[in-house]
Each structure stands twice: as C-alpha cells, then as structure tokens.
C-alpha cells in the first residue's frame, strides 16, 4: 500500500475516471462529425475540416490520455522532434513525387499523383 501511495503521489494521473469518460465521449462526437463531414458537400473546405478535426483528436489523446500535458517537458520535446521530422518527411516525399515531371504514367484516373496528396499539399501551400 505504501508503494501504491507513493506511486499515486509521484505519477498519479491528474484526471479522474469520469473525466476520462467525458473525453472519450468528446472523441466519439468528433469522429461522428468527421463522418458527417466526409459525406457532406463542403467542397474545398472538406479536407482542411477533416485535417483540423483529426488534429484535435490527436492532440486530445496525446495531451490527456498519454498525460503529455502533465508530464516532463523533456517527453514533449522528444515526441515533438519525432513528429516534426515525420511531418517533414511526409510533406517532402509527397511534394517531390507530385512535382516529378517524369511521372507521366497516370493511373486509371489519368492523374499524375494522388488526389489526397495533392489536396494535402494544397493545404500546406495555403498555410
């Protein structure tokens, strides 16, 4: 029991079960909204809306379920470095292949690169 008390004192999660359930409910609601958005005709707003919603879910899970908001800043920086490098790799690779003039193969859709990739790149350019 003493060790349990010690563990609670040093590493205890700052949220209680009811709050975790509320967070779970919020994540579910966001997922339902994402689904609704994906079936709606938002046009050019569709992709940024979906990206924002999934980013919100991502941040909620990392900050509150993984307790990064309450942990040492060192963990945050460690994870951020990986995340930023990963984002750089993703954007660079997609941009490289999208702008490759030798890629004239096209697919059954007659496009020279992925639709989602192009939409993502368009959003990055806008930002």
């Amino acid at each position: 029991m003493a060790s349990d008390a010690h563990a609670t004192e040093t590493h205890g999660p700052p949220l209680n079960p009811r709050q975790y359930l509320v967070i779970g409910l919020i994540l579910t609601v966001i997922t339902v909204v994402e689904l609704w958005v994906s079936y709606s005709s938002l046009g050019s707003l569709l992709v940024p809306t979906l990206l924002i919603l999934s980013t919100v879910k991502f941040i909620i899970v990392v900050a509150l379920f993984m307790h990064l908001k309450f942990e040492s800043r060192l963990f945050t920086w460690m994870f951020l470095v990986g995340l930023l490098l990963a984002s750089a790799i993703l954007i660079s690779l997609v941009a490289l292949f999208w702008n490759d003039p030798s890629d004239a193969l096209g697919g059954v859709t007659g496009e020279s690169s992925g639709h989602a990739g192009r939409l993502l790149l368009d959003q990055v350019r806008v930002l």
Partner: protein
C-alpha cells in the same frame, strides 16, 4: 516496502529527473512517427496511380471502418482507466480495464481481418495495384502494432495475477504500456482520415 519502492524508483531515474523507461518509450514512439510517416507518404504518392482496379472509391467500406475506429477509441478510454486503477491502487479496476482493452483490441483486429478478406474476395491483393500494395502495407503494419499491443497488455494482465503482481512500480509498467497503446490509436486517427475520409 516503501523504502524498496523508493530505491526502485531511484534506480530508474535519469539525471534529467525523469523515469528512463518512460523516456525510452517516448523516444521509441518518436521513431515510430518516422516509420509511419514513410508508409503514409507511400500511400499518398501511389494514390491515383493504379492502372487497374479495384480502386479506393469502389472498395472501401467507410461505415464498417468507422465502427472499428470507434472500438479502438474506446480501447484508449479503457486503457487510461487501467492506468488510473494501477496508479491509485485499484487492482480490480486495473485488471478489468486491461481485459476490456485487450478484448477491444482483438475486436479491432477482427474488423481488420474481415476487411482484408473482403478486399481479397473483391480482387484486391498486395500485388494487384499500387493502391493494394500501399494500403495493405500501411494498415497491415498498423494491425501488427495492435497485435503486439494486445500481446504486451496480455503479458501485463497475466503478470498482475501473480502473488506479487507487477511489483512495486506496477503503475509505471501499465503507464508505459498505455503510451504504446494510445500511440497506436493516434496513428489510426491519421490513417482513418487519410485513407477513408478524404475522398479519392
């Protein structure tokens, strides 16, 4: 026992004042970000390049995958409740939540097996086209991570049934496993959006 616990805690702390096992897991998860970034990049690069079908718009079953996404989200809730139970001395809550997480993880894998079998039945395999290759590679590796997570959590659940449980710092063991499980969840949040929700 408290002294032993303090000694155990001290052994695992770095000069930075953090638990080195937690630090290791965060560094591992950072490297996993790079791993999944390359797989997602591959999927995006190959999207729209397939010369033959089936294509994503013809074959992806969004309602079914939404259900599996909900299952994985709920497994994150049960996982965080397991961490709470472990760190607040509630062994019953920890064990039940761990068991629920394992079961939800298995249900998610069941959904994935169903989806893969359906796709193969429809004629989409790893070698059919670029979409098939990149889709099975990305979702397959994610599924493998879920499988590893299920095994990881099962080993902790079995360990917790021993007389000494998971030891004096069992809460930290469960928290580290929780970090891995939640990471698998956030990767799926991205995969679900990019593959299923963004129109192809």
């Amino acid at each position: 026992m408290a002294a032993a616990s303090n000694a155990a805690q001290a052994e695992h702390h770095t000069s930075a004042g953090v638990d080195n096992r937690m630090l290791l897991m965060w560094i591992f998860l950072a490297s996993e970000c790079l791993f999944f970034a390359t797989l997602i990049s591959t999927y995006l690069i190959f999207q729209g390049e397939s010369l033959v079908g089936p294509l994503p718009g013809e074959i992806l079953d969004i309602p079914t995958t939404s259900a599996s996404t909900f299952v994985l989200l709920m497994s994150s809730v049960t996982m965080v409740l397991a961490v709470y139970g472990a760190q607040h001395g509630s062994k019953l809550m920890m064990k039940l939540s761990l068991l629920a997480t394992i079961l939800l993880g298995l249900i998610f894998l069941g959904f994935q097996v169903y989806e893969f079998r359906m796709f193969v039945h429809e004629g989409l395999t790893l070698s059919t086209n670029q979409f098939g290759s990149s889709f099975f590679l990305l979702t397959g590796f994610h599924g493998t991570h879920v499988g590893v997570g299920v095994l990881y959590l099962t080993s902790l659940l079995i360990g917790s049934t021993r007389r000494n449980g998971l030891g004096s710092d069992g809460g930290t063991h469960i928290e580290i496993a929780g970090l891995y499980w939640h990471f698998v969840d956030i990767v799926w949040i991205i995969i679900f959006t990019i593959i299923y929700l963004i129109p192809s």
